[in-house]
Every structure is written in C-alpha cells, then in structure tokens.
Amino acid sequence: MRTPEVVVTGLGVVAPNGVGTEEFWAAALGGVSGIRRVTRFDPGGYPAVLAGEVRDEEFDPAGCLPGRLLPQTDRVTRMALVAADWALAEAGLVRADDGYDVGVVTSSAAGGYEFGQRELQNLWAKGPQHVSAYQSFAWFYAVNTGQISIRNGMRGPCGVLVSDGAGGLDALGQARRMIRNGTAAMVSGAVESTLCPWGWVAHLATGQVSTAADPGAGYLPFAAGARGHLPGEGGAIVVMEDADRAAARGVTGYGTVAGHAATFDPPPGSGRPPALRRAAELALDDAGITPGQVDAVFADAAGSPVADAQEAEVIRGLFGDGGVPVCAPKAMTGRLGAGSGPLDVVTALLAMRDGLLPPAGPVAAAAAGHRIDLVTGRARPHQVRTALVLARGQGGFNSAVVLRGAGAIQEGTTP
C-alpha cells in the first residue's frame, strides 16, 4: 500500500510579534519581540506582569469573521478561525466528496479561558439563568476544531489532543496519520489565549513564570540569567495534504512532515532520565534519517535552568557539542502552550524557504555550560533541508517533529 508523503501547503499565524505569516516572519528575523506588560487586564496585583500579547491593532476579529460567530466564540477560537482561513486561502484547497475528504485536528492546553471566566462570574454573581448558552462549548478544548470544521464544511476525521505544550506537535503527528490513512487533507495546529485573570493564576500556579518587570529580561531560554518563562497567546494553524494530491494540482508546499514521535517522562524519583531524547530519536527514526542530516533544531526552550540543561544535554547527546544550530524564537513570543510547537514548525519551514535562522530575541548568548550553538543577536544565513522541532508540556509530555524542505533551497542573506 502506498504511504503518502505529507506536505504543508498553507500557513496561518497569529503571534504576539506579528499577525499574518510574513508579518511574523519579518519580526522573528529582525529579533522583534512581542513581550510587554499585560494590557488585557491589570496585572498589577499579581507577581508576574509580562506576557506575549497579540495586539488589538493587529488582530481584528470583527473585520475577519461573520457577526454570527462573534458572540459564541472566545478570543482563542477567533484566532484559530482566522488563522485557518489564511492557511486554507494559501493552500487553495479544493474539497471533494462533500467535505468528507478533509479533517481537522488541533491541540489545546486551555480552551476558551476568557469566555469561561466571564460565564463563571455570571454564574456565581448572578445565578445560572445568567450563564450564556454558548458556554456549553465556547470554553471547551475541542472548540477550535469544531468551529473550524463547521465554518469550512469539513466532515473528515476531527479531534483534539491535550498534552499541554507538546500537544501542538502531537496534533500535526495525528493529522499526518490521518492523511496516511487516506484522508486527502487536514487542517491542524494550535493556538492558545489565556491572558485573563483566571488563566493568569493557572500559569502562576506552575511556579515557572518569570516575575521580571523588564520585557528584555523576563524569558531568556538557555541564557545564564534564565529565570523562568513568560506565557503568550497565539500560535499557528496549517493545512497538510497528501503530497501527490497536492502535486497533481501543481502545489509543492513548504515541506513535508517527515517524522513524529511522542513520549512521556518517567515519574519523579524514578532515577530514569526524562524522555525528550527518546522522542527526538524516535522522530528521526520515523523520518528515516540520522542526527547528522539535521540542519537546525527548534528547541522547546523552557527558560528554567534545570529544564534548559536537560534539553541542552539531549541536543549535545544527539548532535555533539555545538553540533547543530539551535533556534529559540519563542523568546520573542512567550510560551504559547500548545501553540508554540506549530508556530515553531511554521518558523522552521520559512527558515528552509529563505535560508535564514531567526535569533533568540533578547538572549545575548547561551550559557557556556550548555555547549549548544544557539542562534542569537541577528538572523543567521544557513541552508536548512531538514529540521527537528522539540516541545515539552507540564506533567511529562514530550513531542518531536522532523521537517524536510520541498524543492530547491537557496542560502539567503541577512535582511
């Protein structure tokens, strides 16, 4: 039986440092950060005050979505719907079979928090009669998948994966699986939005959020001064297709999802190592390549000294000391929950297209002890044919995706 290659043919990005694929990419290459003091609510009463916020002047859901959808959607679903629209427009997907040939699988670590907070406030302050009927689904992890499916008439395999920060890559892995099982195309990826007080206290409860007040010092993954991370909102939705079917209508796409694997860490105190390395190894095996063929790694970049050291050890173990360029563009967006993995995949595909690796925002240099070749300061010209994307989630989730570029690749120049 034929095992189709799975190619990414459309990108949709909503990120704190750029709304729209090219806007985001220009910001990432230029080292432009979207980290700032939270404005969606007053963070003054909380220990942490910085986040990667998507700016209202850049993201206008009312200008992009039908009026009927606005009262029933959380901010996160509006972002997902708009990003899906953009990805589908770029892919130029032609549906057949009444939509049964296209499915949707997204990931979510949080669901619709802002909507949920408002309705919980209505419940406890005013009573059950005051809770919106739309709360029945607007808060739910699967709501982005459902609304994308309904809006675009997609009746193929649909689902949602919940594995915290690793989930976005897991969704892409599941979408690839569905295409290999015969579905023509999948809409996949993840976006998150939790910048409301209810979401904020959930982030703070992890104990991993930086309490810095200086936007240039809050989230410095792999730096000697790493002191935790900052949450952000946004992510990426992509269109993935059977490469042969895409080629039949003249579409090459950005690159293929060549490998994926997910692992789970052993319980604390077991004495066994975390399973991130195993995820990377399995994903490389799945792609049929060796570490020597990888041209760039997009790191999870947790931003805490212990987690950074663990990831650096994995990268050294696979590629040797400084053996491969390591990118951490999420230092410019904050950690987007499940959204970061797909956004890193988009970033890696654009790096392949343009032959440029984005810098790690405000990080001046990786701590010497990590012995990794972190891309810092400015974009680095580098030919990328194959990239490894890593992601971890709270509670022991690890996921890895291998991407392979499509078509001819030229080394670019720094803008």
């Binding site: 009026g67 009927r68 029933q72």
Partner: protein
C-alpha cells in the same frame, strides 16, 4: 404595562447571537422564520434567556419551541408580560 417591541427584540437578538451579513434585521422580518434569518436553536436559547432575565418572565420550553418567527416570539413574550408570569 411594559411590552417588548420589535426594535427592542432585534437589539437583544443582535447582542445575544450576532447578525448574519446576508440578512437585514432592520427590514420586515416579523414573519421570516428564525432559520432563514440565520439563527439556530442555540442562538434562540441564548436570546430567549436574555429576554426572560431582562423582563422577569418564564416562557417555558414548549412556548419557545413554537415561537419560530420574531412575531410569534414577541406575541409569546407580550402574552406572558400581560399575564404577569
């Protein structure tokens, strides 16, 4: 005695469930089925909830199920308001 007007109802409908771009809620919509105006059952549940809270009435599920046009919905609300229930 307070009655719900079509204008007030349309305002609540817009706020509760939004507005389909293909429909003019300012036009003659009294006898147009809600489905043709772009509203599904959940949209009507949301709208009815807000009307009942605002006017302090309880329409009951059967009444709501039969109110399939704006005019019928208004009649149900205003009958309830007149009866004071």
């Amino acid at each position: 005695m307070k009655q719900l007007t079509m204008e007030e109802f349309v305002e609540i409908l817009r706020a509760s469930a939004g507005e389909d771009e293909a429909v003019d809620l300012g036009g003659e919509i009294g006898d147009t089925p809600f489905a043709d105006l772009g509203y599904d059952s959940l949209a009507l549940l949301e709208t009815a909830g807000r009307v009942q809270r605002t006017y302090g009435i309880d329409l009951g599920d059967e009444t709501l199920a039969e109110a399939d046009t704006p005019r019928r919905f208004l009649e149900a609300v205003n009958t309830s308001l007149a009866a004071g229930v």
